[in-house]
Amino acid sequence: MRFVFKTRYDQDIALFKHPGQRFWYGLLLIALLLAPAAVSEYMLSQLVFICIYGIVGLGLMLLTGYTGQVSLGHAAFMAVGAYTHVVLISHGWPFLLAITAAALVAGAVGVVVGLPALRVRGIYLAIATMAFGFIVEEVTARWESVTGGNSGLQVHAPAIAGFKFESTAALYYLCLSFAVVTTLVVLNLLRAPTGRAFVAIRDSEISAQSMGINLARYKTIAFALSAFLTGIAGALYAHQIRFITPEQFTILQSIELLLMVVIGGLGSIHGAFFGAAFIISLPQVITWFKDFLPDAIANATGLRPVIFGAVMILVVLAEPYGIYGRWLKIRTYFQLFPFYRRGLFKRQKSFQKSDRLR
């Protein structure tokens, strides 16, 4: 059992609460930096995907997990980021400038998508974001002069100041750096007034207002930031898969992104990366299980949706706090051993009460 004896406010404000945390995250960072030497090329490319989807997860987590605004159209921001970036690069823009511009454009689209959030909430907002997602999807498919329509666009390896990131390892380090930087950005925001304002909006809008929080302003910032981060991920995604088409950014992708952050653990930074790891490793896990299943089931194309859906249902039924929640419980069990009680994480049952007033 560890007791953290606090003597300065700085200990609460800092990112790492005690040396143990610094140690373990440092170890993780070293492991990630050494990965290209230790794992296969295939695993490395999967790690790249995890970094990319992790960044998307961060964006979506900021919006849905921390500000409580459900978004069913997040793939649209990836699309905007990816296409803007690729188009700018093909016009000769340098990589860093192009990705920044792409993220800014995505952020601007985010502000537009966030406009309904200023007037409606809950399911209405979700449908509005879904509507935007469809519209963006259709626009990318029809605006052929710019996006190449359904035939898609080819993407080359990124290059910064003449150095080409051709190998998987190079791309991995690039995406890893972006992932680390974006994570730090989000962590900083969350321990500052802006992040607290987001949480306030999620938990009680009317209270947040009486605390002086301008709802419209902070909801817009949340949407813009979320879209900005997702746009960055979209641009990196384009480089990773080398070929983008509108079909990669459909409503199904948006829904899967939402499921990803929920399975990972809504309302936590870890959740974004756990969720990304889950969604990327799912095909692998299915392949492993195929050996144990009869042929008819194992080779069916419907297996992935079934497992995905089943995991989703199980997560809600058994572990609403997601993978991160389960991880937290396991860690607390060992930290408090033998004093762990099941009631520590018990969620209060809330009976449904309508907010509707005729």
Binding site: D10, N188, S204, S210, M211
Partner: protein
Amino acid sequence: MSALLCASNLSLSFGGLKAVNDVSFDVQPGEVFTLIGPNGAGKTTVFNLISRIYQPAAGKLTFNGIDLLTVAPHRIAALGVARTFQNIELFEQASVLANLLIGRHTHRATSLWQEVLFTPAAWRAEREFRDRVEQVIDFLDLQHYRDTIVAALPYGVRKVVELARALAIGPRLLLLDEPSSGLNVEETDDMAFWIGDIRNDLGITVLMVEHDMTLVSRVSDRVLAMNQGEVIALGTPAQVQAHPAVIEAYLGTPSSPPLQGEGPGMGMGLHG
């Protein structure tokens, strides 16, 4: 001394129901001013008008000389008006400390960039917020609950956290909506002491809605009695409690003479 809060001829109707009908009153700086009245009298509606959740159909409302009716709801905290809610509206999934820190929001001095990069200026601002919030925690003896998630707290403590959060704003006027509802005798006692301290030590003006007459008599400087949306009496607690219209509103007119040993006084008789 000019009034801190001045309400004149406020009126608001919901459908055909006149929730607030031509209500006027002044709140002087440094006093504890209480609104009383039976349920449905319009007291919380008056609060909601002052905190700008509703817009009155008629009337004027000024705070510190500023016309409140042109101010958006999220701006009254910056002007110095804080309120607690009847049904506690805390941020359930956050710790007590986080709730109080959110209360400091109007004193935010950092820009988005400074926060994203967490510059030394952001560190300083965070330390300062924490310092001020700790003063509130000391004032209300919440040290034990500092890091507890609000959803895990008992009702009585939540009420205190609600009060703490309003104080964290650093207001000039504190609106307390039924501060003692749901509290037992000891907790109500504490609340009475704190309201007194808020007025005496912190110099904050308090406007509250209350049903517990003992508490009202103990802490209030002046009382306004309302019934069915209208003002029926205004004065010191003793004056208002003896006022015939107030007695009628609570007890009704007697159809027979009062029983021996009972009089029209309400000193101990009415608890919410």
